[in-house]
Symmetry: C2
Subunit: 217 residues, 2 copies
């Protein structure tokens, strides 16, 4: 496991007595993906290769979307000029860390995802036309499912032993103009990716208790 | 591992030669969460306990949201009357399987999530008022982050050795009226949960190739 272990394990007794013990997923995998993994704000200089991104995508792609519609599109921002264009569109607090992250990915929703449904959902031949006829439904469906895929992608980055720094603090209009003019791609999130660096994160913030989140009817 | 292994492993050579081999996450965990896990349409009669749901939430809660805002709210639909009310609001293709699933959860976005920011994001005391003043921003932020958390929840269900059957085929207006009248909760997804039953799934549908999804600039 290459995620830094400098952060204390939340609920340190979980693996002996708590709910973590009841899961089939190994303690090591729980740590790697959820419990010890953290949103990183600094990274080492170690590059992130295309081969690593292929491995990340090859895992994330299997997780489910509605009607298998898979609207997520990923732009790897590798050239200095593109990096500059991206940083311009970010909120002040996100500029400096994104300027120096080993890899930055723009994660977008393809609002023309329906064009691929004949391949991805072949047993419902009318699917493409159904979405072609309803732009609002298409936009909602693309945004919702691409957002699910952003979450899968973040966990898959962690599965590769890397840290993710997902951000939603950007000017979406400017970012879409800078990268997606003339297409139907709309940014959902920007994610910095790399090995966590010095002081990569703050103390863990509190999570809501079960009883604040879950009710039974 | 309790996920059924009746489905052939996708990309069966991955663990020897392919990208899966390059991940830190164990092959067993990759299978449990992503590769062999499937969206289930039938379930066994085995119940899903509150203790299992606690374990699922206790894992999913650690994955990241913007400003740690955690807008996901979960309603466990356990009474027959509530189940009937829910099934009424679903699309035809989702009614029968949801009527008999061991557990059904409604996953919603709390558009009043900002009321909890003083607890969950204490170092930015102005956060609650910023969202209180902008209903559009609040709705967008709630929906996006609750959707990320739906994805984390689906994978955490799988981590518990259970199968998830997530659905977006429902009348959102009717569902919100039936379950969230007078609150600011808005449904994002409905998820059936249990051990997969007979013929729980169809053949796996194709995923988009890396080169259809990823570009470099």
């Amino acid at each position: 496991m290459t995620i830094s272990l400098q952060t204390p394990l939340p609920d340190a007794t979980d693996f002996e007595t708590g709910p973590a013990h009841q899961l089939d997923l190994s303690a090591e995998a729980q740590d790697l993906l959820f419990r010890r993994a953290r949103t990183a704000n600094t990274f080492t200089d170690e590059p992130v290769s295309d081969q690593q991104v292929r491995a990340i995508y090859d895992l994330a792609k299997w997780a489910p979307t509605s009607m298998n519609n898979q609207p997520l599109r990923i732009v790897l921002v590798r050239s200095p000029a593109a990096r500059d264009r991206l940083v311009e569109t970010l909120g002040e607090g996100n500029k400096a860390k994104t300027a120096v992250a080993p890899l930055v990915a723009i994660l977008a929703a393809d609002h023309a995802f329906h064009e691929k449904l004949p391949k991805t959902f072949p047993h419902f031949p009318g699917a493409r036309d159904m979405f072609a006829a309803d732009e609002t439904l298409r936009a909602q469906t693309a945004d919702l499912n691409a957002t699910l895929q952003v979450a899968y992608f973040i966990l898959a980055v962690r599965a590769a032993g890397l840290a993710a720094g997902p951000m939603t603090g950007f000017d979406a209009g400017s970012l879409n103009s800078a990268f997606f003019a003339g297409s139907e791609h709309k940014v959902v999130a920007v994610v910095n990716i790399g090995k966590p660096g010095q002081d990569a994160w703050m103390d863990r913030l509190p999570r809501l208790d079960f009883d604040e989140v879950v009710t039974t009817v």
